[in-house]
Amino acid sequence: MTHIFSKRWAIILLILTPMLVSLACKFQAGAPSTTAPATDTPESEVLTFEVLFGPGPFDFPDTKSGLSDLTSYKATLVMSFDGTEAGQPQQWSKTYVMLAAKEPATRQLTIEKTGNLSDLDAVFMAESDGAAYEQREGNDCIAAVIEEGNSLSERLEPIGFMNGVIGADEAGNETVNDMAANHYTFDERAFGQLDIAQSTGELWVASDGGYVVKYLLTTKGNADYFGEGIEGTITWDYELTEINQPLTITLPDNCPGGMVNAPLLADASNILNMPGILTYDTATSLADTAAFYQQEIPKLGWELVGEPSLTDSSALLDYTQGDKTLTIIITSDNIKTTVNMMLGKSQDTVPLP
């Protein structure tokens, strides 16, 4: 009599079947489940699925961690791509350099670009004295008040473009950029990108401070990762240097002055405060207003240039501090006194005869 399954086959099936059932249950638990969208109102679909992360013991989900505790730093990120798009060779590179200081709050970001990019103009951005500056290659420098939610650190912190890692492996301790750092290695699993792209990466985190000192990443992928028609390799090279060192940002010569830092009289009204200029009205007499500023402005480090020009109906006070100038013009029409203060640079000043 021939049995369909021999004893040994039965044993093999007995061992393997539970494993198969277990596997099926795991995938079923992790299977995507979607909520049906409402008929007319679009809504995001929520997927619940498990993701395979790296096997190592180190997690670092927030790449900006620890940066805000530093008094100053220079962050450099070089992104490069080499591949094809719609079958055509595609190569480009972008270099972001961010200088940041805490006190006083100052930032500068430059972006240099090369290769197959639609816009190769270099970009300069800065924040200083409450004003935000931007200049694109060949154009004038623009200054504006820093808008809430629109600061450089919120929008364009270089390390913020890079993903955090889960399950990285420890790779010892090293000194990097003059900082003691813990070294970690990882692959695409650290991003939960198994089967999406192939990545190799290294991360150095400051032993004291917990911020990223260096981050290297190479990712190779196809349309599943880069999107339809694009495949190739993208590399990221990030370094943090000049940590807690004095730094200076240099605004282009044609940038307007920053926010005017000067006291206002207590009854100031119709206040206009924008980069480079501060104006307001007051009921205080012209003479008392002029006396107020002659007393207060030198306390802020400004030096009077020449003699003040004072008449019954106008006053002109010129001050300098380094390469900056502060011009105060006070006029009165017997109803109100108007104060105009303008911040500029030495080359903007017309010497008074």
């Binding site: 086959w9 299977a31 993903n163 198994l194 008449t311």
Partner: protein, 326 residues
């Protein structure tokens, strides 16, 4: 029935006679699936109890700055995958290659271009899709964005084989934009000096939109006279109020402002022995400045031209501020 001698040989250690083909097939499948399950290293941070979600985030440049008719507003859209624990997203991961569609719910207020963009690492903000909203008329509109995420981001190859996802995942976000009719306030303070005698001229004017990015207006220039001292005597210099014409033109993100002064009448009431009263016509240099469309200030040089005695050098502080029209 087909035979495979290799398989027959490999299985010969387990059976007294060659196994049937279908046994081999079943065994091969079971082995593959079982080993596949076994070799998957349990993830350290397996999100037991946590879920992964896709999010789309649209941010417009300029923060809360006023948007006026004629403005071009950049909007950056990012699609991310994040773990969610107790309703809080963390371990946020940017997803490249996502197609994003953008449109204004009320297109009469403004248009969004392009219609479709892709999240790219080479964008202005790496990993984002770029859009521009063209503000055309006063009003409020939502700008809606829909991103479609490749199923490969939601499941492994094996998972896709065993339990294929229903399709591409859609995510939605919107930003509200209010466009206002705006005009420009132009203020100038001109300061001149000659031989120790100062003259100040102030002007507060307004330019209203004529359409197509053109603005016009006019204003009065008020002069602050001076006393000219010569030894033990002095004379009083006064200047009558004069007029100024204002022209403005938007050029992308810049406003070009022309300020043209009409002549002003100066009167010198002589107080010195032998002095005479005289009048003169003062011609101020016109001023042209470029400031950001959102407003700004400049301090160019300026001169008064007068053919006999009253030519003076100086400067003008010109301040341009954008205001919403009442």
């Amino acid at each position: 029935m087909f035979r495979n001698s290799h398989n027959s040989i490999s299985l010969s250690a387990f059976t007294d006679k060659p196994a049937p083909r279908w046994h081999i097939v079943i065994l091969a499948v079971l082995l593959a699936l079982s080993f596949g399950s076994a070799v998957q290293t349990p993830p350290l941070a397996q999100a037991a109890g946590a879920e992964k979600r896709f999010f789309i985030e649209a941010k417009k440049d300029g923060g809360t700055a006023t948007i006026c008719v004629g403005d071009l507003v950049s909007i950056h859209v990012r699609v991310v995958r994040a773990q969610v624990r107790s309703g809080v997203p963390f371990n946020v991961e940017t997803i490249p290659g996502v197609r994003v569609l953008g449109s204004a719910d009320f297109p009469n207020v403004g248009q969004v271009t392009p219609r479709e963009s892709r999240t790219m690492w080479n964008s202005d903000v790496p990993g984002s899709a770029n859009f521009v909203f063209h503000a055309e008329n006063p009003g409020t509109t939502s700008i809606s964005f829909q991103g479609r995420v490749n199923p490969s981001w939601g499941a492994s190859i094996l998972e896709r084989l065993i339990n294929p996802p229903s399709g591409w995942t859609s995510v939605f976000d919107s930003v509200d934009v209010t466009v206002q009719d705006c005009s420009y306030k132009v203020s100038t303070i001109s300061h001149f000096s000659a031989q120790g005698v100062p003259l100040v001229a102030t002007m507060d004017g307004k330019m209203k939109s004529d359409g197509d990015g053109h603005y016009t207006g006019s204003a009065t220039v008020n002069w602050v006279g001076a006393i000219a001292v010569a030894g033990d005597c002095s004379s009083v210099i006064t200047v009558d109020s004069s007029k100024v014409e204002l022209f403005g033109e938007l050029d992308d993100d810049w406003l070009i402002v022309d300020v043209t002064y009409l002549p002003a009448v100066l009167t010198n009431i002589g107080g010195c022995p032998g002095g005479v009263n005289d009048k003169a016509l003062l011609n101020l240099d016109p001023v042209t400045v470029s400031v950001p469309a959102s407003g700004g200030a400049k301090r160019p040089n300026q001169e008064i031209h007068e053919p006999t005695f009253y030519s003076m050098s100086g400067f003008v502080v010109i301040t341009v501020t954008r205001v919403t029209q009442e």
